[in-house]
Symmetry: C2
Subunit: 545 residues, 2 copies
């Protein structure tokens, strides 16, 4: 007779080993190591909560400190590797296999650990894709998560950075896995229940509050006049043109410039109430002036942003908040909204090739893509119409069956820092794939998903291109003085411009001399604080006054 | 000064009007009408929980009973309209606008109410798309949901049919909306918390348990030998060929036949452990023999299925269950898994055109598509590789950049009931779009997302077609004796067969004479009960012994 309840029995055995370590579900920090040693088994699939912002850092350090003779060969499934501890776990031999989405600051060390054979990568995912696999073939046996507070029953309050916690805990708890949470404090009653106590096995009060990274704060002081020009082009040539009302912005100064031009340039064009009303977006400080000017109706967030707490509380009509006024974010749901309920994604990249494939992969770094592939992909399962989506679909149409499509805009200066050209004949991703043994080159956004490429030279509307040759010339035609741009067929490019496939600032009625930093609704972090009525409290590193 | 907390104030005003109607959160059924009258305002956006299975039927009846002079112009945002009450709400003038996903049995009446101007349809969505909009531009002001039980604090236990409840409640509760739940019983302590009480405003013990539809039960007695033949072709020509291990099956007898052939035909081909290991699927009774035979490692579910409760409890290694052994389903997460973590979707349709577009839309019915567009679409944001996905991508490749892709199989007999041909020159969807004023014809799966069309005549692999002409002949080549099939270019079709684009049963090594009902691992509902060791308890209507 087959035992059909092995997981439940296995769970009971692990819990029995951990019995007596704490009072009820509460385990003191000093016992955290003992708890992990008793609960974990070699080869376990473990989800260590790493987000864009919130990090289960104490549990990460504890995991890295385990004796690899006892606990080894773990398979980590975690969306973001942001902290050195996340890689220490592999370096010390506690874990050996990794499925993830984004590694940002750890990308170089990740590549070197892969080279050294310390890490075997399953795959790089977009967030929602990794979450989907938590319910199919990458279900965690043990999850280590982070929250703001807990009560004695194990009810968790995540604070504004709910992020991945609900999806991780649901996948683990309902497949008889074990959920361990580090919390900043134990309280009698949590301000709201983000995760029901019945889904949580152990709560550890952490010796220090969990780490949070203010990843979406961009200082307006660093926005250049070229970025102002590009933002004007985005607003006039894309947002106004397609009446874009539901959108996501990537991280970075290019899109921060757009946010800061809404109450000035876009307002002067009479666009208030006509564009940018609904967002799937973290609470970007750079969006404050647009919110105050009445551009924004709603923002649903993947995570929160440090310093925005009081502002969010005071603007509850805009954000999703709990009864205590703090943000309720949710990466899984906001990614679903970004994929299916937004008409435009706009972001930056490091390299674009002649077909229009783009990637942030570079030699010696395995960075991953986070949410960009999900939001920067045409949602082919989408069935509801909007004017934006229908117009883009009409432009792209090559089939007898009419269909809408998403706008996916790549916004790049032709040269990035250190004068590296953003346009290349061949992506570095090919070389990385070969050196790291990947099945395919790691492309962030595939050519056929990109609708527009926007540089300081102009906008190339790839939807209107009818052949690979046309696409190539449209791309070369906005690639400026890069080798790719210089190799353009001038006549073909002029022809594309006549057809409106390529549009220069002057074709859009933009006077380049107007593109000044004076157009920014805030020119510094201090201006953002002022625009918020003193409600925005930027982290210290962004305060220079 | 703008009021930035209008929603919170509006919520408080509604709650104040309802004060005193109940004890704490508990309101008796007799007061349900009064509660809705006090809480609702004309024009409100309301989510009435309608799922594939679980229905907030008491709240639907109560809503339909309101005085339209007082409450009118509601905008309903609900995934499924399954009950007459769902349309009575419109017929009586309480609601006037509708955004939805699926209307199944109400599709004809829905069309007639649209014609009569009683309903204005916003759009038809796929489920995850509608859920995404709950967080962007269709956030409910009031949600009416259904659960199995609640405690005095409002904690909800959904039972196995969790379905849409978590996503509805999260979108509403955290945007200062009002959540009202009908429950089958009040208890001192719920078996598990599916929805935290803090997210719920009112609980109404319903006079009768909420309705549940056993939508995924297919009686093996009704499976024909043609369906057995087609299932053999699916297993040999697609599942084995591509090593499909992560998949979703649509509803219907065609795919039930595949499920019932796993322990017999697939086992005889040595495929156990090599195909069909992980599923995003409701607990189909037809899957019982495959589970018992050891084919299946895991099943994550959108909803549950009546009668499967004890079987699920006894097979907890396979399903996602709570501590009480009952299923925890979740439509939003399972749809994300179906989109991003599955390599194959296979389902049926009513009509397929010469490009390969398919639709279930027919004259006089507005049915919607449920989850099919989401799971039957290439997940362009996907970045992780699998052998299945890479092989399909290689076959489809027309670009210099290699890429994987999903298998999307349309499985149809060439003639459906009443001898309507499944293959047509032009979809009825065009006519429906015109008569109902839709922006686009309602296509379930677009041509470029379909990878294979499987009929009793053979399999057409559209991935291998390199032109529209080839696609058309490949489709005609499996369209049998329909007018579309008879109009084939015989030479072109033979050429496609030589190239393996079209494969007949004999090309797959299938002896048609073997295609007998004897191959089915269960030939009746009673056989399924027996296979389950008596654990499956089919609803009365499926018991004929």
């Amino acid at each position: 007779m087959r035992d059909w309840n092995q997981q439940a029995r296995d769970r009971d055995a692990r819990l029995a080993r951990a019995a007596g370590l704490g009072r009820g579900k509460i385990v003191e920090a000093g016992q955290a190591r003992a708890l992990l040693e008793r609960v974990l088994e070699p080869g376990d699939r473990v989800c260590l909560e790493g987000n864009n912002q919130k990090q289960a850092d104490f549990l990460a350090r504890t995991l890295a400190s385990l004796d690899p003779k006892q606990v080894h060969g773990l398979h980590l499934v975690q969306s973001v590797l942001a902290l050195p501890e996340h890689l220490d776990v592999f370096d010390r031999g506690v874990a050996s296999r990794l499925d993830f989405s984004f590694s940002g600051p750890q990308s170089a060390r990740l590549a070197s650990l892969v080279s050294a054979g310390r890490i075997s990568i399953g795959a790089i995912h977009t967030y929602l894709e990794l979450f989907g696999r938590y319910f199919v073939d990458l279900t965690p046996r043990v999850s280590l998560v982070a929250a703001q507070s807990a009560d004695a029953a194990g009810n968790l309050y995540t604070g504004p950075n709910t992020e991945d916690t609900p999806v991780i805990v649901e996948a683990t708890a309902f497949k008889r896995g074990i959920v361990i949470a580090q919390v900043n404090e134990l309280v009698d009653a949590v301000p709201r229940v983000d995760i029901p106590g019945g889904w949580v096995d152990f709560v550890i009060p952490s010796p220090s509050p969990h780490y949070i990274e203010p990843l979406f704060t961009r200082d307006p002081a660093q926005i250049s006049e070229i970025q102002v020009l590009m933002a004007m082009m985005a607003i006039r040539g894309i947002y106004a043109e397609y009446e874009v009302n539901r959108l996501n912005h990537g991280i970075g100064f290019d899109t921060a410039a757009i946010e800061l031009l809404l109450p000035t340039y876009a307002e002067s064009l009479g666009l208030k109430g006509k564009i940018c009303r609904h967002w799937a977006l973290n609470p970007h400080p750079a969006l404050i002036p647009a919110i105050e000017a009445g551009f924004v109706e709603s923002v649903h967030s993947f995570g929160s942003e440090l310093g925005m707490e009081d502002y969010i509380r005071a603007r509850s009509d805009i954000f999703f908040t709990g009864p205590d006024g703090s943000l309720r974010s949710n990466r899984a749901y906001s990614q679903a909204a970004g994929h299916y309920a937004c008409d435009l994604f706009i972001g930056s990249t490091l390299q674009i090739d002649l077909e229009g494939n783009s990637s942030t992969a570079t030699r010696g770094r395995i960075a991953g893509f986070g949410g960009a592939p999900n939001m920067g992909a045409d949602a082919r399962g989408r069935r509801h119409a909007s004017p934006t989506w229908l117009k883009a679909g009409r432009e792209a149409s090559t089939s007898a069956m009419p269909r809408g499509r998403k706008l996916v805009v790549q916004m790049v200066e032709t040269f990035r820092e250190h004068m590296h050209p953003a346009f290349v004949e061949k992506l570095d991703a090919w070389e990385l794939a070969e050196s790291a043994g990947m099945a395919l080159p790691p492309v962030m956004i595939y050519a056929d998903d990109v609708s527009h490429i926007l540089t300081e030279e102009g906008i190339a509307n790839l939807l209107l291109c009818r052949s690979q040759e046309e696409r190539e010339q449209a791309i070369r035609g906005v690639a400026g003085y890069t080798p790719v741009g210089l190799a353009r067929d001038k006549r073909a490019v002029e022809n594309l411009r006549d057809r409106g496939v390529i549009r220069r600032p002057e074709d859009l009625g933009i006077d380049k001399r107007q593109a000044s930093r004076d157009l920014l609704a805030a020119k510094s972090i201090k201006d953002l604080v002022r625009a918020s009525g003193g409600l925005y409290a930027p982290p210290k590193r962004f305060r220079n006054w």
